[in-house]
């Protein structure tokens, strides 16, 4: 065996079967932990759900009280010779059990919102995706070409990067009020926040990626008679495309984190509004369901993008096929 094979070999590939098992485990372990904490009453369960209030005046059925208070009250009742309260160990309201979240997950698509005028989960989600889409697209339309120019020409690098470098340290949320003042209270300022959060990073990241292109490829093209424009068009852009694609996947993830900030600016909307609203109603199952959906959307998008990337940039594969 030696140190070169087995599960814990340093920087050696793991077999496909083992890989599949580990991927499943990486999701199964957190879920199992959640189940354990939820269903095994001897684990944690710091509160008590009252099943019968006994003679304790302020206890009510279904009420959640802290274990210590429950014990203290029952002790009082005992010394007074009154009826003790009965209850089951329970978890706090902010940690719903998996099955409850699953039910809520389903119900969030089938039951209408509590109040008229409030949006369904999928409507909120749709709105959020729209905000991200436009913020990210607008940022990319300007940011990617600008980044490529900065990475290719010293002129643009020195003209643009210092300011961008300064600006990216300004947290996007501080522009919230300004964005509302300029763009009104609807989607405008939200898209602007996503834009600000993405754009400045994007320019620098793309510029860096562009600079990583092997200079000898450019030199080879020069000796083959390529003009500057031809080099930009036929060498720089195709050469960095796979890496830019990877950068964009990462940047898209960042855009999602700015969403939360964007959605509390002006009128609260989208998935953030939905989560806050459900938390207000103490519907934590719904909160969890919404968070899960965001995670699933993120994971799926990334997997689809990764798959498409592999298809598009097949020339990067390092295998001899014949």
């Amino acid at each position: 065996m030696g140190g070169n094979s087995g599960l814990f070999a340093i920087r050696k590939p793991i077999s496909k079967k083992q890989k599949r098992i580990l991927v499943i485990l990486s999701f199964a372990i957190p879920i199992l932990l959640w189940c354990a904490v939820s269903y095994l009453t001897f684990l944690w369960h710091p509160v008590v759900k009252i099943t019968s209030s006994g003679d304790v005046s302020y206890f009510k059925k279904e009420m959640l009280v802290k274990k210590e208070i429950f014990k203290l009250e029952n002790k009082k009742m005992k010394t007074k010779g009154l009826k003790s309260a009965l209850g089951l160990p329970y978890n706090p309201v902010y940690l719903p059990a998996p099955h409850k979240v699953a039910v809520s997950f389903y119900e969030s698509f089938t039951t209408p919102p509590r109040r008229k005028g409030e949006s369904w989960l999928h409507e909120s989600l749709g709105h959020s995706i729209k905000i991200i889409f436009w913020g990210f697209i607008l940022s990319s339309i300007i940011g990617v070409p600008l980044g490529i120019l900065c990475g290719t020409f010293g002129f643009f690098r020195n003209l643009i990067e210092p300011f961008v470098d300064y600006f990216r340290y300004l947290p996007a949320p501080v522009f919230g009020a300004l964005a509302v003042a300029i763009l009104g209270i609807n989607d405008g300022p939200k898209i602007a926040i996503i834009f600000i959060g993405t754009f400045f990073q994007q320019v620098l990241v793309i510029a860096n990626t562009t600079r990583k292109l092997e200079i000898s490829l450019i030199e080879a093209a020069q000796t083959l008679g390529a003009s500057k424009l031809a080099i930009l068009r036929t060498i720089v852009i195709p050469g960095i495309l796979p890496d830019i694609y990877k950068d964009m996947r990462i940047l898209l993830g960042w855009a999602w984190t700015y969403l939360v900030v964007a959605e509390v600016i002006g009128t609260s909307t989208g998935i953030t509004w939905f989560i806050n609203q459900q938390a207000k109603y103490r519907n934590f199952e719904q909160v969890f369901a919404a968070i899960l959906i965001i995670g699933i959307i993120g994971l799926l998008t990334d997997q689809v993008l990764a798959y498409l990337g592999k298809k598009m940039f097949y020339w990067q594969r390092h295998d001899l096929e014949n």
Binding site: L224, S227, R317
Partner: protein, 296 residues
């Protein structure tokens, strides 16, 4: 005895002598005049007062110890660096930047990884303004010349090092340059592939009208391939000697053991690793074994 050895590499057979006489009758393709180049003023010039010329269809090698500026010299000829002072004249025209009449093959693999073998060879032709079909037809001829028909639609990541360099050579030659500049093109290849590539290059060179300037640090490679060898010395990079290789053509690997080959190699070694007067530094031998079992 010493005297005889020193001049041995200068002795040329009648055949070789006639060849050089004919060579020098041809037009000059490249003329380098009093070339100087400094990157860093503190370190002094990397190339100092280099003058040389190469003739049509001549195979010239540039050789020298590391840091002698041989790579800088070829990059200057290619137009990839700005000239400090002096002149580089190719085909009676002073160069200014890279040009299509000077093809270059680099040490690292510089095939465009997103293009197939044919598309790589088409690249220069397309820049010249050839239509897609025209460029493709021409490129396919070159694919055949370098013997990679089976791989015409393969991507560089699917090729071995030797194949990659063959495509790179074809790509440079497809646009019909006057000169082929090669910067240690076989440096990254294993010994076996390397010697195949050398014979291969000689064959191509023999069949087309091109002058080659070839950088290497491999003495045998330089002798085997070249008409003349320009030897540079380091700090600053100056021409130490220009050697006319006395080995007759066509060259074969068997010639590696002929007296003229060995004499030339000996002279190159003397030039590149000059014997210094300082005593050699002795490496202290540290005893690694505890018990008295001396290994040495």
């Amino acid at each position: 005895m010493d005297e005889l050895n020193l001049t041995g590499y200068k002795k040329q057979s009648q055949k070789v002598k006639e060849r050089f006489d004919r060579l020098k009758q041809r037009e000059v393709v490249l003329k380098v005049e009093n070339l100087c180049k400094t990157f860093d003023d503190k370190k002094g010039p990397i190339l100092k007062d280099v003058s040389l010329k190469t003739y049509r269809r001549e195979f010239t090698s540039i050789i020298g110890p590391s840091g002698c500026g041989k790579s800088t010299l070829i990059r200057l000829i290619a137009g990839l660096e700005d000239i400090g002072s002096g002149k580089i004249i190719v085909n009676d025209e002073e160069i200014d930047g890279p040009g299509i009449e000077r093809g270059m093959v680099f040490q690292g693999y510089t095939l465009f990884p997103w293009l197939t073998v044919v598309e790589n060879i088409m690249y220069g032709l397309r820049r010249k303004g050839e239509s897609k079909t025209e460029a493709r037809d021409n490129a396919l001829t070159w694919v055949k010349i370098v013997g990679l028909q089976k791989y015409e639609d393969a991507y560089p990541s699917q090729l071995s090092g030797g194949m990659k360099q063959r495509v790179a050579i074809a790509r440079s030659l497809a646009t019909h340059p006057k000169m082929l500049l090669m910067d240690e093109p076989f440096g990254a290849l294993d010994a076996q592939t390397r010697s195949t590539m050398q014979s291969y290059l000689l064959q191509i060179w023999k069949n087309i009208n091109i002058s080659v300037v070839f950088i290497t640090h491999d003495l045998e490679e330089a002798i085997y391939l070249s008409d003349r060898i320009i030897v540079l010395k380091a700090n600053p990079g100056e021409i130490a000697e220009i050697i006319e290789v006395p080995v007759s053509r066509p060259r074969t690997p068997e010639q590696f053991f002929t007296p003229e080959f060995l004499e030339t190699k000996k002279r190159l070694e003397e030039l590149i690793h000059p014997k210094s007067n300082e005593p050699e530094e002795k490496i202290k031998i540290v005893k690694l074994t505890q018990a008295g079992d001396d290994v040495f």
